[in-house]
Symmetry: C2
DNA sequence: CTGAAAGCGCTAACAT
DNA sequence: ATGTTAGCGCTTTCAG
C-alpha cells in the first residue's frame, strides 16, 4: 500500500505538506506542489478513503435506499431503475460513491439510520423504501441530508411526477375523443405513496369540471400493480358498469390485464373500450393494441433530486419539493368516438 | 458520535476489552461480555466502519462493476438488473455492503482497480463492464477476489448461461416442428463477451448434425442489440434467402424487430416464418405472436456468483467457471410445419 | 511556506 | 481475564 509517507520520503517534505498539495489547499509554493503531485503520480499513490474519512468526518458516500417493495421488479422497475441510473451518473460526477443501504446490516438489527452512521454516509437518496417506512422519519430528523424520488416523507424534500396533471390530461384526451362513460383502475396506496390517488384526483377533477358522472363506483382499486390485478379489477368493474368506454389505469400492467379481460369476454379494444395507462413500459408499444400512456421523465427526476442533494450537502437551502410533468404518449388504445 | 470509549467509561473496562466483547472474540468472561453488550445497546453504540477498516484492512465492501455499455438499458437490462438484485441480497446477508465502482472517481483519472484501492473493497463483482475492459486484467492480476457474471476475463471466475446448449435446443425445436431452412440473427460480440457466438455455435452444431445446410450466409450480425437492428438484419437476410422459415435471434429485441420486418412486407409470422428469441423480456409475452424464447436464470447465476465470491473472500479455491442452463419458454412464434 | 504534534475510532500484539 | 501500548493513513492545529 502506498501512503503519503512514501511521497514524503521521496520528496523530502513532511506528511502534512503532502496532504496539502494533494488536496489543493493553500500555503504551498507552486514548485513544491508540482513536485509532490508528480511523485504521487509516478509512484501511483491513491488516497485511503477510510483514513481520510476518519479525520474529516466526510465519507464521500451517498446511501441509496432502494427496495422496490411495491412492484417486486427490483432494478427492472420501469421508473426506479431509470432514476437510479441517472442519479448514479450525476453523483459520481460530483465525486461521490453510491452505496446500498439496507435494514439488515450487522445481523439484521440495524435501521437505515444505523446503517448511515456505520458507514458515515454524507447523504441519502430514498428511491424506494421497504414497506415499513416509519423509520424514515428518524432519518428525516437526523442531520444527514436526504432527498426522496417517490415517497413523501415529512421533513424530506421530494421530486415526484405531476400525477394530478397527468390524470387531468388523460380525462381531457378521452373527452376530446368523444367518450362519456369513464372508469379508473387504481393501484395500491401506502402511507407515503399517493401516486395512484393523485392520478385519480386529476382524472376526476377534469371529469367533474365537464359535468360527467364519476362517482366511486367507477373506480376499482387493485391490491398490487400487476397484470393479474388489472384483469380482476376490470372484471369487477365490468360487472357494475358494462357501459364504460374509457378506462384510465394507474399503470401499464394493470391496463394490460384489463385489456386482456375485455378481449377474453369478446369486448373489442379499443373499438368498444379504450384504455390509457401509465409508465410507458417497453411492452406497451408491443401489445395489441399499442397502449396510449404517460412516460415519467426519469432522467429529469434524477437530475432534480441530485441537484437538491448537492445543495443540501453544501449546506444550502432547497425547495420542499419539485414536481415534474409526465409526457403523454399517444398510441392506438383510444378510439375516437366522434368519428364513428 | 458514540464510540467504544463511551462504553469503556460507562462499564469501567478498557477499550480493547470492549472491542473484544463487541466482536465476539475470546478471552472474556461471559458476565463481562454481557454487561458490555447491554451498555452498548443501551447507549445506541454503532461501530465506525472507517476506523475498523483502517486497522483491520477489511472494509466489508463489495465493489460492483455495472455499466451496461451494450444495451444501454441501465438497471432495466433484462439480465443484469435481475442478477444485481439477487446478488445484492446474497451479499448483504453475508454482512457486506455493495458500492458502485466507476472509472471516473476523483476527476476521472481512476481505473476500476484504483477505485478498489481507494475504497479498500474486499471483493468485486463484474456484472457488466464498460466497453473498454482491458483494464480488468489489472483487476484480475491483483489480489482482490472477483467474479464475473457476463464477461470472460482471463483469471477471473465466471458464471454464465449455457449458451451453446440453448442454441442447440433452439435448432432441435425448429427441426422437431418440421423446419428445414434456418437463419440466425446475431448480436454484437466483444473481446470478452461471446454469448451471441456461443448461441450460434450451438444452433449450427445441431443443424449440421442433422445434415442441414447452414453456411455463413444464413447468419446476419447486428451491430447492436436493439429492435431496429433486428429489423435491418432481417431485411438483409431476406434479400439473400427468402425461403428461410426458422429464425433464431440472439435476443428478444432483435427477434421483435425481425418479426416487424416480416409483417411489414406481408410475410406472416409464424405461418410463413417462425421465430425463437432469447431473454424472455416482459414484452415477449405481449407481442404478436407471443415470442418463444429462452429465460436466463438470473437468480441462480447471482447465487452461484455470490457463492464463488464468498469462497474467495474466505481464501478457498473455486472453479474456473460455472455454466447455468437457460429455460425454454414455448409460446406461439414457432409454427409446426409437420401438421400443415 | 513548512513541519511537529496530536488525534480521528478501532484493534493487534503483547504484557500482566 | 483484562489492560497497556502502539499504530492503521490521514488531516488539523499550531508553531516556526
Amino acid at each position: 500500500m502506498i501512503t503519503i509517507y512514501d511521497i514524503a520520503e521521496k520528496t523530502g517534505y513532511s506528511a502534512p505538506t503532502i496532504s496539502k498539495a494533494l488536496n489543493g489547499r493553500g500555503g504551498l509554493s507552486p514548485a513544491t506542489r508540482k513536485k509532490i503531485l508528480d511523485v504521487a503520480e509516478e509512484i501511483g499513490y491513491k488516497p485511503n478513503m477510510a483514513a481520510r474519512s476518519l479525520t474529516t468526518k466526510k465519507s464521500f458516500l451517498i446511501g441509496i435506499i432502494y427496495e422496490d417493495a411495491y412492484m417486486k421488479a427490483g432494478f427492472e422497475h420501469p421508473l426506479f431503475g431509470g432514476i437510479l441510473n441517472t442519479f448514479r451518473t450525476e453523483l459520481e460526477a460530483s465525486g461521490y460513491d453510491l452505496i446500498f443501504l439496507s435494514k439488515s446490516f450487522c445481523s439484521g438489527k440495524t435501521s437505515y439510520l444505523d446503517h448511515c452512521v456505520l458507514r458515515n454516509v454524507d447523504g441519502v437518496v430514498i428511491i424506494n423504501p421497504a414497506e415499513t417506512v416509519s423509520e424514515l422519519s428518524a432519518l428525516a430528523d437526523s442531520d444527514i441530508p436526504s432527498v426522496s424520488t417517490n415517497d413523501i416523507i415529512p421533513g424530506i424534500p421530494y421530486v415526484i411526477t405531476e400525477n394530478f396533471e397527468a390524470g387531468y390530461k388523460a380525462a381531457e384526451h378521452f373527452i376530446k375523443n368523444g367518450h362519456k362513460k369513464f372508469a379508473y383502475l387504481a393501484g395500491p396506496t401506502t402511507e407515503y405513496t399517493r401516486a395512484s390517488i393523485e392520478r385519480l384526483e386529476g382524472f376526476r377533477s377534469c371529469l367533474l369540471k365537464h359535468n360527467f358522472n364519476f362517482d366511486d363506483s367507477f373506480t376499482e382499486t387493485c391490491p398490487a400493480w400487476f397484470k393479474e390485478n388489472g384483469f380482476d379489477a376490470m372484471k369487477k368493474l365490468w360487472a357494475r358498469h358494462s357501459d364504460v368506454t374509457a378506462v384510465f389505469s394507474a399503470n401499464d400492467r394493470i391496463a394490460a390485464g384489463a385489456m386482456d379481460y375485455c378481449q377474453s369476454i369478446g369486448v373489442r379494444v379499443p373499438d368498444e373500450v379504450s384504455f390509457i395507462g401509465f409508465d410507458d413500459e417497453l411492452f406497451s408499444s408491443y401489445c395489441n393494441p399499442p397502449l396510449t400512456t404517460f412516460k415519467q421523465r426519469r432522467e429529469q427526476i434524477a437530475e432534480a433530486a441530485a441537484e437538491i442533494l448537492r445543495k443540501r450537502l453544501a449546506g444550502q437551502s432547497v425547495a420542499d419539493f419539485v414536481r415534474i410533468s409526465a409526457d403523454f404518449i399517444e398510441r392506438n388504445s383510444v378510439k375516437n368516438l366522434s368519428n364513428s
